[in-house]
Symmetry: C2
Subunit: 288 residues, 2 copies
């Protein structure tokens, strides 16, 4: 459970820590970043987990997402995990941007040869937070955790929240892959990680739209931003409309607030613009 | 003077335009970014020029510096030029990170083989603003221009301001190379661009500390942020103390506000943290 500090960077009055540890569930060293706001010097602060999208590491949003701006004001720590195991050496893991390295999809793979290492679901829901709360027990309040993410990480945030009622105080997402069973990215990932036989059944257990249809956890308040200039939205990779339809199906249409942001694209410029709103959304529940 | 729009990106309620034009003084195509705040839809807005540091293009600060956050609130456009000509093909131009490509140092070179293209001083003070104000005459107020920059770009901002009294409404800088004649980076650049014979004499015409000693332009109000964790500061590349000493020499010590920011480094995390302060500093004079 030991954590190795590779760099400490001053940011918005707090510290961005570049960290690494040996992950058992991934079977490799895993890097991640943790932003500790100035308030963590005097008291234990809540934690917002930010899950990144395809091809990214925890560094991209740390540099370009602007979450530290709001998190510093609010007194919230931000955890930026990686998106997959690294350097495993499975044949084909580096062949495409949307499968394998950088594309763990926040599931536990069941198909060979991925099942031994590609366990990002267990990593994010269990091993990483345990590691972080153990290493930073004086800075972090482990009882107050929210989750957010972008694209593949938006899928991660929504599905982890919906699969684990009560685990996270709130959820929000940027351009989430909201119905991966119906999207090319999701189909490719689920077929690969779950196998051609099982991908639809097992995929349904990680598909936010399918999970929402079965939601029994009480009133929802989910904030989602999608840019109308987002090419992946236009190509049908994100399908937020299906998520909204599922919310209506269960009488939770008031609980899903999808904001279609005019002209905004799929890039970090969008996260930077609306990061404060997502931190504020989390703060409403983390400090409730 | 025509400008080619390569991308339009929504950012903080405004638009970040990725632009290119054929520069006469550089003798090549030159790319730059222009952030137009939402206010520019209804009226002509002031302009803040941000000069980048070694190795950078206009993209780095557009993505990681978060000037758009404050500029959008204040109604200020931000211009992000490149740091040198590109693709000229001079032997050795790509050999080092601190000379040639990406390292134009905001001077007009006089030594061969650089003097034909490496004319960043004329480019930034004359050709680029003319081009931009011509292309965006309905969005920009050419009578209200301020300047800022980072590292080599901080040197650029200070020296352009001090060489041209009245041209810029205000100046600020992050980690500026404040006395390049006394710093390894500056010595290398000036020797290269001005020649071994002339580098000290010509360099003095671009050295902010030397320029400040001869300042006759009235009361100054210069904001400078330097991180105490900045390795280049520790290595003596920045020398802000010399700039402060020059200010005292001319009785302008009240006009130079160097803030030593504890633990902050030379990276964009520092710009991101204090960008709002520098936009506010410019706004005080742009809207005076």
């Amino acid at each position: 459970m030991s954590v190795n500090t590779q760099a400490t960077i001053a940011s918005f009055g707090g510290k961005l820590l570049k960290l690494a540890h040996n992950s058992s569930v991934l079977g490799c060293e895993s890097k991640f970043n943790l932003f500790l706001p100035p308030q963590s010097q005097n008291s234990r602060v809540p934690l917002l987990i930010y899950l990144s999208g395809l091809t990214c590491t925890g560094d991209n949003c740390s540099e370009k997402g602007f979450f530290q701006h709001g998190a510093s004001k609010r007194g919230i720590a931000v955890l930026y995990p990686d998106t997959s195991p690294r350097g495993i050496g499975i044949q084909g893991e580096d062949d495409s941007y949307d499968f394998g390295t950088g594309a763990g999809f926040y599931v536990d793979a069941t198909a060979e040869p991925w099942s031994k290492n590609y366990n990002m679901y267990s990593y994010i829901t269990d091993e990483l937070p345990k590691t972080v709360f153990d290493a930073f027990k004086d800075q972090l309040d482990s009882s107050k955790v929210s989750i957010t993410g972008h694209s593949m990480g938006g899928h991660g945030a929504l599905s982890l929240f919906l699969k684990n009622p009560g685990k996270y105080k709130s959820v929000s997402a940027f351009a989430p892959i909201s119905n991966p069973l119906k999207a090319p990215w999701g189909e490719k990932a689920f077929k690969g990680y779950f196998g051609e036989q099982d991908w639809q059944k097992k995929g349904a257990e990680h598909d936010s739209t399918e999970l929402l249809k079965k939601w029994k956890g009480g009133d929802l308040d989910i904030l989602i931003d999608v840019g109308t200039g987002d090419n992946f939205y236009k190509q049908g990779q994100l399908l937020p409309e299906n998520f909204v339809a599922a919310a209506k199906e269960i009488g939770q249409e008031m609980g899903v607030n999808v904001r279609y942001q005019p002209d905004y694209d799929h890039s970090y410029y969008t996260m930077a613009t609306f990061a404060d709103d997502h931190v504020d959304h989390a703060a409403k529940y983390l400090f409730a």
